[in-house]
């Protein structure tokens, strides 16, 4: 479902009408943290992050096209009924698209969040399942075969793993742009429009590499949060002697801390990815990124595609950036393997909280 916005003359930037807007950020983040503690409600968090990305895309489009600061971009969005819902920080209740009814404006956000969460869960599962399922199967089949000393078919597990890693290295570099494109366009197919995604990556090649590196590094604390409990008795002597209720409390707390980190990291990361997407999208033809162009046309009609900030296209640059992207995402997969060896969970093959459903798997 794409958004088509009526083009009108550009209004003057006005101060943001949202008083105490800054309070919405910690409040909504706190709600996200609480919801991210369980896998079902984490779907809502995923939806909220998708809505957050859409808002960030709109702001970044105006900043890029008009060369204005963030505050001015938000004020401009607020000045038009069609874009006004995108101006304030994305809350849990308030709708971020135009609603006629009072209830729709006040509570439509919850419906939007649930819908976006389910849709994003589905597209992310479709995009990642081809490799996550293979990684899971290769681990299971490989070690099952090794345990049973099935030397005759010893090649099966490693071959599945190599195939899974190969598919992962194809899918993962496209995923951040794909999610941003999906968030902006609100179409299932947006995640799978490979030519568009490749054009977006080409347009912001080095930024994409940088954000992949940041994402990979952001996964390290999540990996550490899985590895460190293995050594809990070495880190906290006497842990095993604690009463069961204290051990359970420790397990709960251990789950909460990575979740807090996860939500905060995702807010920053998804916004950065949305900004990168918005700038890249403006370099594409209108039909490839209608949402971004519609926002831009709303306030700056007739300016066409932005060319100036697109990455310079050279063969060497393309080769180096592609290799870097592959190396970074390979490091991400290696990190997953190390964490799985330290503290194995079948679910962790299927979902990485920084890539898919924002939920840190917990054993208790």
């Amino acid at each position: 479902m794409s958004v088509v916005l009526a083009s009108t003359a550009m209004p003057a930037a006005t101060p943001s009408p949202y008083r105490f807007a800054w309070l919405r950020i910690p409040f909504s983040a706190a709600v996200a943290i609480i919801l991210a503690l369980s896998p079902i409600t984490a779907i809502l968090v995923l939806g909220w992050l998708v809505r957050l990305m859409r808002r960030e895309v709109a702001i970044a489009v105006l900043r890029e096209r008009l060369g204005i600061n963030r505050s001015a971009a938000m004020s401009m969005l607020a000045s038009r009924p069609a874009t006004a819902p995108l101006a304030p920080w994305t809350g849990w209740l308030r709708a971020s698209s135009e609603r006629k009814s009072w209830a729709g404006r006040r509570l439509g956000g919850l419906v939007e969040t649930a819908r976006a969460g389910l849709a994003a869960s589905l597209v992310l599962a479709l995009a990642t399942l081809p490799f996550t399922a293979l990684l899971l199967l290769s681990w299971w089949a490989g070690w099952e075969n090794s345990f049973n000393k099935g030397y005759e078919q010893a090649w099966v597990g490693p071959s599945l793993a190599i195939l899974g890693i190969g598919i992962a290295l194809f899918v993962l570099p496209h995923l951040p742009m794909g999610l941003a494109h999906f968030a902006a366009e609100r179409r299932f197919s947006a995640m799978f429009e490979l030519p568009t995604l490749r054009a977006l990556i080409r347009a912001r090649r080095w930024r994409t590499v940088w954000l992949a590196l940041v994402a990979m590094l952001a996964c390290l604390p999540i990996a550490l949060a899985r590895i460190l409990p293995v050594f809990i008795e070495n880190l906290q002597p006497g842990f095993a002697d604690l009463p069961p209720d204290l051990i359970e409390a420790a397990a709960r707390n251990w789950h909460v801390l990575p979740t807090v980190y996860l939500v905060l990291a995702l807010i920053l990361l998804r916004r950065a990815q949305a900004r990168c997407y918005a700038r890249a999208a403006l370099t594409l033809p209108l039909e490839k990124a209608p949402f971004c162009h519609a926002i831009a046309e709303q306030f700056d009609p007739g300016q066409g595609r932005a060319e100036t900030r697109a990455s310079k296209r050279t063969l060497r640059g393309a080769l180096i950036s592609t290799l870097l992207l592959l190396a970074i995402w390979f490091a991400f997969i290696a990190q997953l393997y190390v964490a799985q060896f330290a503290n194995h969970g079948w679910w962790n093959w299927l979902n990485h909280p920084l890539i898919g459903l924002p939920w840190v798997y917990r054993p208790l």
Binding site: P229, V230, E233, A251, Q340, H344
Partner: protein, 386 residues
């Protein structure tokens, strides 16, 4: 053959005296061994009490419901928590074989498995120095393909060492034997002979002490018969810990070991995260114990003359913060908590020894039962004998 507490204590005292004499006159010919046979079973790969000796959660029904009633179960055996001493398979096995704790330096590694060398004499060396027992009757039955356990055959003590080493049964030894035979027979085409030479050199490179290649004639004959029965292709052998059981049973018939250690290991597969590998491997060891017991009872040389000592090399974690709480054994409290079962002639039947016992006591107890003294840190468990 029956060991009473009196004969056990007498054996202990005479072992002390014999040790003194032996050091005074090291060249004197050792006496023939007339004590009980001992089968030391490493319930290996690291297992917890929960999945073995706790009735509600055990995966070892034969061990718990049949064997435990025949002897003395010691539920509270522990590995001492010492600095620089790990709860690993290699160290746990050395604790059992030498009765001593050490901070070991790796002399190498094979994959993730460290190569450790005993610093103290092993039970095999004590036995063979004290008595006239040939190497093939002091047997280690090792894991399927674990040359790193070749290093368990003897320690670095100057009064013991290579002359008193044990022999080894395992796939690694079979491969060495088979390749040497193939090259000796010379019936293969030249390209296959060249490949066999290459493989042999690779296998020999794991054995820097050179003992694996110098098998006794009895061992050569054992492997020749094994080849006749199973063929040359290891794919046709029993696999995993079942191979150890088959090797041990065949050894009872053909080699008549007086002291044999069976190093089961497969529960350790759970390091890769599949919980059923752990529980299924415990079941496989349990079945192996049943087969070994049946074989011993069917053999007049062993029936009523054999003491079984069954003990893990180490425990496993009980970590509630992990999806598979027993995935590893990283020096946690639970990894130090093991158990032991000793049964055979002269051992109190159906007894649960409700005392804290150190893992190194098992070596001292084996030594006292067989009539030789060890330098074990733990004490010999005289109270389990009738």
């Amino acid at each position: 053959m029956r060991i009473t507490r009196r004969s056990f204590n007498t054996g202990l005292a005479s072992a002390v005296a014999a040790a003194g004499l032996a050091s005074a006159a090291p060249t004197a010919k050792a006496a023939a061994y007339r004590g009980p046979n001992v089968i030391l079973v490493r319930f290996g790969g690291g297992v917890r009490r929960a999945e073995t000796i706790e009735a509600k959660t055990s995966f070892a029904p034969y061990f718990l419901n049949v064997l435990a009633k025949r002897g003395a179960l010691i539920p509270n055996v522990s590995i001492d928590a010492l600095k620089h001493v790990d709860t690993s398979h290699a160290e746990g096995t050395l604790n059992l074989l030498t009765g001593r704790y050490h901070s070991y330096d790796k002399i190498g590694a094979r994959g993730l498995a460290p190569l450790l060398e005993p610093r103290e004499p092993t039970l095999f060396e004590y036995l063979r120095k004290a008595f006239d027992v040939p190497a093939h009757q002091a047997l280690l039955v090792n894991g399927e393909d674990r040359p790193q356990e070749e290093y368990l055959t003897y320690g670095g003590h100057k009064h013991y060492g290579v002359a008193y080493r044990s022999e080894v049964l395992g796939l690694y030894r079979f491969k060495l034997h088979r390749l040497q035979r193939l090259l000796g027979e010379g019936r293969l085409p030249e390209n296959e002979l060249a490949e066999a030479r290459k493989q042999l050199e690779k296998l020999k490179s794991f054995d820097y002490r050179g003992t694996a290649q110098a098998m006794s004639p009895q061992m050569e004959r054992f492997w020749d018969r094994w080849r006749e029965h199973h063929g040359d292709d290891p794919f046709r052998f029993p696999r995993g810990d079942r191979l150890l059981t088959q090797l041990a049973i065949r050894a009872l018939k053909e080699l008549k070991p007086r002291l044999m250690m069976v190093n089961y290991q497969d529960p350790d597969y759970v390091h890769w995260g599949n919980a059923s590998h752990y529980t299924r491997a415990i079941s496989a060891i349990d079945q192996g114990l049943q087969q070994l017991t049946t074989a011993v009872e069917a053999d007049p040389d062993y029936r009523g003359r054999t003491v079984f000592v069954i003990v893990p090399d180490c425990g496993r974690d009980a970590n509630p913060l992990m999806s598979v709480p027993f995935q590893h054994h990283f020096n946690s409290r639970s990894a130090h908590e093991i158990f032991a079962l000793i049964w055979g002639p002269g051992i109190t039947q159906g007894r649960v020894l409700d005392k804290a016992v150190d893992q190194t006591s098992l070596a001292a107890t084996v030594g006292a039962a067989m009539g030789f003294k060890t330098a074990a840190e733990g004490r010999a468990l005289s109270e389990i004998f009738t």
